[in-house]
């Protein structure tokens, strides 16, 4: 029997979730799916595979869109991400966004972006998760605290005293590094 090529995935977090058909090569980006493929026979996988993550069908569709587009990229293993092992600085490579990735992330609103991060984390899709986090980090490059709050839709919950203290600590790292230098 030929191995199953199309997997059916349904988000059961809420009733009535849409059933997505995803190519096996694309779905293998997910560590969760890889584990399922190892643990179950193909006959079991013909049925709908339930997943349960607090993400809308729209957000999940974007995740599967990325997986389908990136199905030919090398898959990650358990002990490393796309960047290489965590403690190997020598082998560390910066993340690069392809043109398609740039367009993909640029088209997202903040809600869809966070949903993709949550889904990528749940499905254990390391490249997408790291790209998403890097994209958020890139969004705040060179911005002030106020601008970041506006961009990322963060509400300040500091009281005035805390706000003042935080402002005083703004140059914390700088001051501490200068103190260390004097010592």
């Amino acid at each position: 029997m030929a191995p199953i090529q199309i997997l059916k995935l349904q988000n059961t977090f809420k009733p009535g979730g849409k059933v997505f058909e995803v190519e096996r090569a694309a779905a293998e980006h997910s560590g969760l799916v890889q584990m399922l493929l190892q643990d179950f026979d193909d006959s079991d996988l013909e049925a709908i595979i339930p997943i349960s993550v607090d993400v809308s069908d729209k957000g999940l569709a974007k995740v599967f869109e990325w997986m389908t587009h990136s199905k030919d990229l090398p898959k990650t293993t358990d002990d490393g991400s796309v960047r290489g092992p965590d403690d190997s600085a020598v082998n560390w490579k910066p993340l690069t966004f392809s043109d398609w990735d740039k367009k993909f992330f640029d088209a997202l609103d903040s809600e869809a972006l966070y949903e993709i991060l949550i889904a990528a984390n749940y499905l254990d899709i390391k490249p997408l998760y790291e790209l998403g986090c890097q994209f958020v980090a890139n969004m705040i490059r060179g911005k002030t605290t106020e601008q970041i709050r506006e961009i990322l839709n963060i509400t300040s919950d500091f009281n005035p005293e805390e706000e003042l203290r935080i402002r005083e600590q703004k140059a914390l790292v700088k001051d501490e590094s200068e103190t260390a230098e004097k010592n």
Partner: protein, 605 residues
């Protein structure tokens, strides 16, 4: 009331009550960053590539601020790790060497421990994970990173000025026009790539500071304790230096020498900026005023500056050409040590100690360092370069062909990282690994400047292949043809061909390649016998040999460390090109159009 009535009406109209629904799980989905799980926020904070952005993001709300404060050390360390890339082992090692206290009785043990750590880091072992590094260490790393990054900026800025000047001079020249000026300009003035050229320069600055720390630089605790607290000679310090230099590849030694030259200039510039007059006074070292002030503060504190006696030593080390490729020899020695039992290393250290302590170790060429202990330092410096070479030359025959613990011939395989052999080095030496660059003959000059000095000052070994190719296309640098250093090293004229072996025999040059060629033993038994014979020979004749050949006075008399080659011209007889307006690194000179062909002065014999 009306709503209630409607509601009651609808209830009343419904035929059956709706079935009970299970309670909905509370939805965590939101369009705000602060509602994401902690590990996700930590990952986002860890992806930020600037400290100011990190601080700004960490100040947006209570939750993110708490996460930032909790993991501040690991977040900053992660940032540094990304910035440093392959330079991280050197940055971590600098922390260890910066803590060395030469006045401590445990100095040697601490130094050996620091060396062992550095060795492990360079091999990629034991690099601390982000959560293992305390905040104090991270801040120390951060401080040095700022300084070294500033110096790298300044170096790149000056190199860019030099390239501009050379390009202008080349385009104005009518006799030898550039074949493709637009392409050359584009390649030459392209900003340095973050992960190759810039890392090479950054790493060289870190290593220079480590070297200075081992030499008792003013920034170390020992120097702060007083000038007499630091012993600049002695077996311990010499063996530390020897081992430290053995960590670097030959092309990395050249990178070290290039930034060494640059620092000598920068210190002069800084002094002129403080005490000079006219245009030089108040000259900025860094374009950013804040970073400029920080850099000046560091320079005032003695960053990358030898004490007076050591400065002379550094100048000699850089200019004389005697130690330029020392790393190759020491590296071979290290490989040799790795193949022998541990006790062998102790023998080497004991021999080193005896030699360094030998009386009469004063230089008799009138080229002393002057100042506190300059002569002794000079003698020690000679000896440790001799020892590396001697050990290699005396024992390389023990290895059968193909059994060496390193590659004998190197090829440039692309600028894939800062760790690999640089294009310029492979091109200059044709891949010869242990070429004898310690004894440069008086060389030809470019506009009154020694060929090697131009090579070091322009920093050829830092640049990627496209920029190097563009540099070589400039008329002034066309003397650096492929293999120029290897040919000069072998004493061959450019036009000469002939049998390489004959040339090497004639000039007494010893290279690893030829050592491999002349080896007759091939099987393991013969190799073992050769090693045994060599060890016996060492114990039988070693003392006598060391005593006769390497007495310090003999070292001076033979003019270096090559027993067969003709004595090189003393450095005092080489007239270096006066610095100032014709200095290729001087930004002012470059802005005025670089070097004129008439401005150079030939050296006087």
């Amino acid at each position: 009331m009306r709503q209630m009535a409607t509601s009651f009406a609808s209830l009343a109209m419904s035929p059956t009550p709706p079935p009970p629904q299970p309670p909905k799980p509370p939805s965590s989905r939101s369009s705000s960053l602060q509602t994401l799980p902690t590990e996700m926020l930590l990952h986002i904070l860890g992806s930020v590539d600037s400290l100011s952005d990190l601080r700004a993001l960490g100040s947006t709300c209570r939750r993110i601020h708490a996460i930032f404060e909790e993991d501040k050390a690991s977040l900053i360390y992660g940032f540094l790790r990304r910035q440093l890339g392959p330079v991280l082992p050197d940055a971590l090692a600098l922390y260890e060497f910066d803590r060395l206290d030469a006045s401590s009785p445990r100095y040697h043990e601490d130094g050996r421990a620091a060396l062992a750590l550095y060795d492990a880091y360079l091999r990629g072992n034991g690099l601390p994970r982000p959560r293992q590094v305390p905040l104090g260490v991270v801040l120390h790393l951060l401080h040095w990173h700022r300084v070294m990054a500033d110096l790298t900026d300044v170096y790149v800025r000056h190199a860019s000025a030099v390239f501009h000047g050379e390009l202008d001079a080349a385009t104005q020249q009518q006799q030898q026009p550039l074949p493709d000026p637009a392409t050359t300009r584009r390649l030459l003035l392209a900003p340095p790539a973050q992960h190759t050229e810039r890392h090479r320069i950054l790493r060289a600055f870190y290593r220079l500071q480590i070297l200075y720390d081992v030499n008792g630089a003013p920034t170390t605790a020992s120097h702060r304790a007083g000038p007499d607290a630091t012993s600049t000679t002695g077996p311990n310090l010499v063996s530390l230096r020897l081992a430290l230099l053995g960590f670097f590849w030959p092309w990395e030694h050249q990178q070290l020498a290039s930034v060494g030259f640059f620092m000598l200039r920068l210190n002069r510039m800084w002094t002129a900026a403080l005490c000079g007059s006219g245009r030089s006074r108040g000259q900025h070292l860094h374009p950013d005023p804040r970073r400029d002030r920080a850099l000046r503060r560091e320079l005032r504190r003695g960053l990358l500056r030898f004490p007076r006696s050591h400065r002379q030593q550094l100048r000699d080390w850089l200019r004389s050409g005697r130690a330029r490729n020392l790393g190759a020899y020491v590296h071979v020695l290290k490989g040799f040590r790795a193949a022998l039992p541990r006790w062998w290393e102790d023998v080497v250290v004991r021999k080193t100690a005896r030699l360094v302590d030998e009386p009469g170790d004063n230089d008799d060429d009138g080229n002393g360092g002057g100042g506190d202990g300059g002569n002794e330092t000079q003698g020690g410096g000679e000896n440790w370069s001799l020892l590396g070479r001697d050990h290699v030359q005396a024992r390389m025959d023990s290895f059968p062909p193909g059994s060496l613990p390193f590659s004998a011939h190197l090829r440039f395989e692309g600028d894939r990282g800062a760790e690999g052999v640089s294009c310029a080095w492979a091109d200059a030496f044709e891949g010869g690994f242990v070429e004898d660059t310690m004894l440069f003959e008086p060389s030809t000059e470019v506009d009154g400047m020694l060929l090697e000095e131009v090579w070091f000052r322009v920093g050829f070994v830092f640049w990627d292949e496209p920029r190097y190719a563009a540099l070589k296309a400039l008329p002034r640098f066309q003397v650096f043809k492929t293999g120029w250093a290897a040919r000069k090293n072998r004493g061959e004229e450019e036009s000469e061909g002939g049998d390489e072996t004959r040339q090497n025999k004639q000039h007494g040059t010893w290279t690893l390649r030829h050592c491999l060629c002349v080896q007759g033993v091939s099987d393991a038994a013969a190799a073992a016998a050769a090693i045994l014979a060599n060890i016996i020979a060492f114990f039988a004749n070693g003392n006598q040999r060391f005593g006769t050949i390497y007495a310090a006075s003999d070292v001076r008399r033979i003019g270096g460390n090559n027993l067969h080659r003709p004595q090189p011209t003393p450095i005092a007889s080489r007239r270096l090109r006066p610095r100032g307006r014709d200095d290729p690194i001087a930004p002012g000179a470059a802005c005025r159009g670089g070097h004129s062909q008439t401005s150079g002065r030939r050296s006087q014999p």
